[in-house]
């Protein structure tokens, strides 16, 4: 069976060499989200526009997404990500 020791993970936005735990709690993940909010705002606007275009192009049985609940994508494509 594979070994169980925790390996180092270095968040991209954190100090070089930092582990996830050393990078701080989820406050610091949220802080990094806030730190790039200008870039995210553009991304989010583009994503919303793209979703509208996909929804407009799709038929009733299309495999296209809806934003909040992703009602039109396969339900097994949810965040549990199983199966593959």
């Amino acid at each position: 069976m594979p070994e169980t020791s925790r390996q180092r993970t270095e968040p991209v936005g954190a100090a070089p060499g930092a582990t996830v735990a050393e990078a701080g709690g989820d406050d610091q993940v949220a802080d990094r989200v806030y730190a790039v909010r200008d870039g995210l705002a553009l991304l989010l606007a583009e994503a919303e526009q793209a979703r509208r275009r996909r929804a407009e192009a799709a038929g009733a049985d299309g495999a296209v997404c809806a934003w909040n609940h992703f009602e039109n994508i396969p339900t097994f494509y949810n965040w549990n990500n199983r199966p593959r």
């Binding site: 936005g13 993940v29 994503a47 965040w79 199983r82």
Partner: protein, 388 residues
């Protein structure tokens, strides 16, 4: 309310732990069914131990599953899916698959996760007739599909493309799942362009996982993986015609953080995702565990639908010791991992196949597909704030 106020813990500590994914739900949103163990391919990274054997699911197994599923699907406001997985589900044949589908009501959505190699005109007509949604497993252009081959070692790519062409000829929309075995620079762009050309509507990207009978390492440099995801965001922005699962979910979480609604992103409970093996045995949470056994955990099953009802099995998940250990592992993730609000806890199969138990926390899969996904999206937002 300001962000600072929202994030204050009444006890004076940091942000309160996310509240989602607490315990296992007793009603799933989908079930995974194994119509046959057989697969006509023998992919290098496949985790399935019985894929060379043709053990077909008897119709009474499907009928036993259909009884509670038809009730769940009829409940107002619910959407319920049966995912015919495998093996290769089309290897069961149309007549047998139709017989397995027949006990399910019209409210139930049916999906197949297929390698596409068997899809032809009659299969497309079958999909139409039974309103089956199709998801294709393909790893990109020909050179990226080296892991996908027949038992004799013949590359499967031409057969996969032939199947996809049949879908397109019949106007059948489809999704795609892609396994990435080496997240190297340039690959994300190459893959996204491929899938644009392929014509899928929805795409999920899975970094290869070490699990089941696949023991290849999935440990990649952190920055390489984050760079892969960042590059994928950039490729997607150029032509966001595809619903790209990982990008959509990352942006959903980031938007919720900015809106101070991040705690609403995760489902309230874990979906039990019951996998019904060909023989009616039920494995919860991770289909990859089906067919395996361990001296400590047994065969990972929680019962058999021919002996007790699926609803009864799902009502008492804690009767399966490893599930209880897994739930403890999720709670450990909640209290130790800063990414829990985004991820919801490492998957059972990854914990087991990487750690040998279920109550460990961070896995390579966590790093590859959750942590560095979010970090890659944030890095892209930081470095490339505007589309060309």
């Amino acid at each position: 309310m300001s962000r600072a106020e929202t994030r204050q813990d009444p006890a004076g500590g940091g942000r309160p732990a996310p509240t989602g994914m607490r315990g296992v739900a007793t009603v799933p949103s989908y079930v995974v069914m194994q119509p046959t163990t057989l697969c006509n391919l023998d992919c290098s990274y496949c985790y399935l131990p019985l894929r060379a054997a043709n053990r077909r699911m008897p119709v009474p197994v499907a009928a036993a599953v259909a009884r509670p599923v038809n009730i769940w699907a009829a409940q107002q406001g619910r959407r319920f899916s049966v995912v015919w997985h495998g093996g290769e589900p089309l290897a069961a044949g149309r007549d047998h698959l139709a017989a397995l589908i027949s006990p399910f009501s019209a409210d139930v959505e049916h999906h197949v996760q297929t390698n596409a190699t068997l899809i032809d005109d009659p299969w497309c007509e079958f999909f139409r007739e039974h309103r089956i949604r199709v998801s294709v497993s393909v790893d990109g252009p020909r050179a990226r599909n080296d892991s996908r081959h027949t038992r004799g070692g013949r590359p499967a790519y031409d057969q996969i493309r032939s199947g996809v062409e049949a879908l397109r000829r019949h106007g059948i929309e489809f999704s795609a799942l892609c396994v990435v075995s080496d997240p190297s620079p340039g690959l994300a762009t190459e893959l996204y362009r491929f899938f644009l050309d392929l014509g899928c509507d929805v795409l999920g990207i899975n970094i290869e996982e070490t699990e089941g009978v696949n023991v290849r390492s999935n440990r990649w440099p952190d920055r390489a993986v984050a760079g892969f995801w960042a590059e994928l965001v950039g490729a997607w922005r150029q032509a966001p015609r595809i619903h790209l699962r990982e990008v959509e979910w990352s942006l959903r979480y980031a938007a919720a953080v900015l809106d101070d609604t991040a705690d609403e992103v995760l489902p309230r409970q874990l979906d039990p995702i019951p996998t019904i093996g060909y023989d009616g045995s039920v494995v919860l949470l991770s289909p990859e565990l089906a067919g395996f056994s361990d001296p400590r955990y047994g065969d990972f099953t929680s019962g058999n639908v021919l002996a007790s009802g699926l609803a009864e099995i799902l009502a008492t998940p804690e009767r399966t010791p490893w599930v209880t250990e897994f739930v403890a592992g999720v709670e450990a993730c909640r209290t130790t991992c800063p990414y829990f609000g985004f991820c919801g806890g490492g998957h059972a199969a990854n914990r087991y196949f990487e750690h040998g138990r279920f109550d460990g926390t961070e896995t390579n899969h966590c790093r590859n597909s959750k942590i560095h996904l979010l970090e890659g999206v944030l890095a892209h937002a930081r470095d490339q704030p505007a589309a060309d």
